[in-house]
């Protein structure tokens, strides 16, 4: 109760003003230090993402190139057996093939 008497209504107003002033100052400092260095750098989120993508792509390309490039020695052999290159032949073609064989066998 003693304290309440000492303070008084006027004092409270002053005190509140003081606090607000201090708060303002603190805010200003905080803003200043958290602002990025260097003037005029305006960040664009889209641009950043694009750049990231680009870098990733570059990395990927490099990897792919490496796979195909210098380490091509142990590539699997081409199958030595002949897979049917033309499996779905028409019947006429089949007859032609047969005639070929026949001509060869008889000659």
């Amino acid at each position: 109760k003693q304290a309440h008497h000492n303070i008084g209504v006027d004092n409270i107003d002053d005190l509140m003003a003081d606090i607000a002033e201090q708060h303002e100052l603190a805010q200003e400092i905080s803003d200043t230090i958290s602002r990025p260095v260097g003037p005029g750098i305006d960040f664009d989120e889209d641009e950043l993402l694009a750049e990231l993508e680009e870098m990733e792509q570059e990395e990927l390309d490099k990897n792919l190139l490496e796979v195909e490039g210098p380490s091509s020695d142990p590539l699997p052999n081409v199958p030595s057996t002949s897979l049917p290159a033309r499996p779905a032949k028409k019947e006429e073609e089949e007859e032609d093939d047969m005639a070929d064989l026949q001509a060869w066998a008889i000659s």
């Binding site: 199958p79 057996t81 897979l83 049917p84 499996p87 064989l101």
Partner: protein
């Protein structure tokens, strides 16, 4: 692509001098006997001569047979038996009977036995050529032709000449019908193998290759069956060969049939066909092993380690993988429980045997000269008969297992 063919040994024979002690009553008659001896000896030499080719063989054969026929065909215009036919004893071994000879005093027996050996020579010439890994198209054609010539000889002997024998051949001998049939069919089947290799090389349609392979497998099966009443001790090895070839070509047939099915979007059936091919292939692999372990006449080889064998295995695996992959993301077909039926198209007639004809009678054998052979003079010299000639086994240059160099271009 190199081929591998099982070969039974050549027949061996005792030398024949054609000395008839007074029967040949004129210089011309004597000359015929001398020429018979020399042409026969030369022909026998040719069988084991590694440098001999079909042309040389044909000349040597014709030279001997044109004279030998003077002892077989009727020369005096009558329908009677040639009087010289039974004057000489001939001894021959048989392909399946080791060194145990059989003998007949009959010029027809000599004719068929010798011609049989000529047929065997053609099959051996073919297998020597076909064993080369880098075989050319011309050589492949020679193999094909030689096998057809051999088939033609065996067939003519069986149909025309062997029926003239008075004493039929015993069981298991070369001149009996079962053994003859097996040789005829085997020669055709082996010739067809060459055709299949060509069809594959020229990338003919999978359907044709499958049908040809199926037909070939049937040939081998038939040859195997004609032998199944013979004693196993001398026929097993040969039959193992025929069986392994049968399964091998069934695997081929299913493999290529699967490719046709896949091309027709029947992926499930294609997979089943390839699975059947794998089954036939592993059976053929087992038979290769059994073949190697079976004792018997003929060559010995490790067919399952040769290129022609390994190649098919790879082809089946690749094709099966492909079918399963495609079924996994395109078709989603169910794989049937039953293997697809292979249909045999009408025989393509690709391996018709080349007709065998005897050469014309030698000009030396005229009726006049023939009349100077006097059989009555021979009789009294019976005591002077030379002792029986021994039959020496033939030393064959090519009875070593064929080596497969197996170069692959990668």
């Amino acid at each position: 692509m190199a081929h591998w063919f099982h070969r039974n040994p050549l027949k061996a024979t005792a030398p024949v001098s054609f000395n008839f002690y007074g029967v040949a009553g004129s210089p011309a008659a004597n000359k015929i006997c001398n020429d018979l001896r020399t042409t026969r000896a030369r022909l026998l030499d040719m069988f084991t001569d590694i440098t001999c080719n079909p042309e040389v063989m044909k000349n040597a054969t014709d030279a001997y047979f044109s004279l030998l026929q003077g002892f077989i065909t009727s020369l005096d215009g009558t329908t009677q038996e040639n009087k010289m036919r039974f004057i000489q004893n001939f001894k021959w071994t048989d392909t399946l009977q080791g060194n145990t000879p059989s003998a007949q005093q009959d010029a027809v027996f000599e004719l068929v036995s010798m011609a049989f050996n000529v047929g065997l020579w053609y099959t051996k010439f073919a297998s020597r050529l076909a064993g080369k890994e880098n075989i050319t198209e011309v050589e492949a054609k020679d193999v094909h032709r030689s096998l057809k010539v051999a088939a033609g000889i065996f067939k003519a002997l069986k149909d025309v000449h062997i029926p003239r024998l008075i004493t039929p051949a015993e069981k298991g001998r070369d001149l009996e019908p079962r053994v003859m049939d097996a040789y005829i069919i085997q020669s055709q089947a082996e010739a067809q193998e060459v055709t299949i290799a060509r069809a594959i090389e020229l990338k003919h349609s999978a359907n044709i290759i499958a049908s040809l392979a199926f037909e070939t497998a049937n040939f081998y099966q038939k040859a195997d069956h004609t032998l199944n009443t013979l004693e196993p001790e001398y026929s097993s090895k040969w039959r193992k060969y025929l069986q392994l070839k049968q399964h091998f070509y069934m695997a081929y047939a299913y493999c290529y049939h699967g490719q046709t099915l896949l091309a027709g979007d029947k992926c499930g059936e294609a997979i089943r066909s390839l699975q059947e091919a794998e089954k036939c292939y592993s059976r053929a692999e087992e038979l290769c092993k059994e073949y190697r372990q079976t004792k018997g006449p003929g060559t010995t080889a490790k067919p399952s380690e040769q290129q022609f064998f390994l190649k098919l295995g790879g082809l089946i695996r690749n094709t099966l993988d492909k079918c399963q992959r495609e079924n996994g993301f395109i078709y989603f077909h169910k794989v049937p429980a039953e293997a697809p039926l292979l249909e045999l198209k009408a025989s393509y007639g690709l391996v018709e045997p080349v007709a065998f004809e005897l050469p014309p009678l030698s000009e030396q054998c005229t009726p006049q000269v023939y009349a100077t052979f006097d059989l009555t003079k021979g009789a009294k010299n019976d005591k002077a008969k030379p002792k029986e000639e021994e039959v020496k086994p033939v030393k064959e240059p090519d009875l070593k297992p064929q080596k497969d160099t197996g170069c692959i271009i990668s």
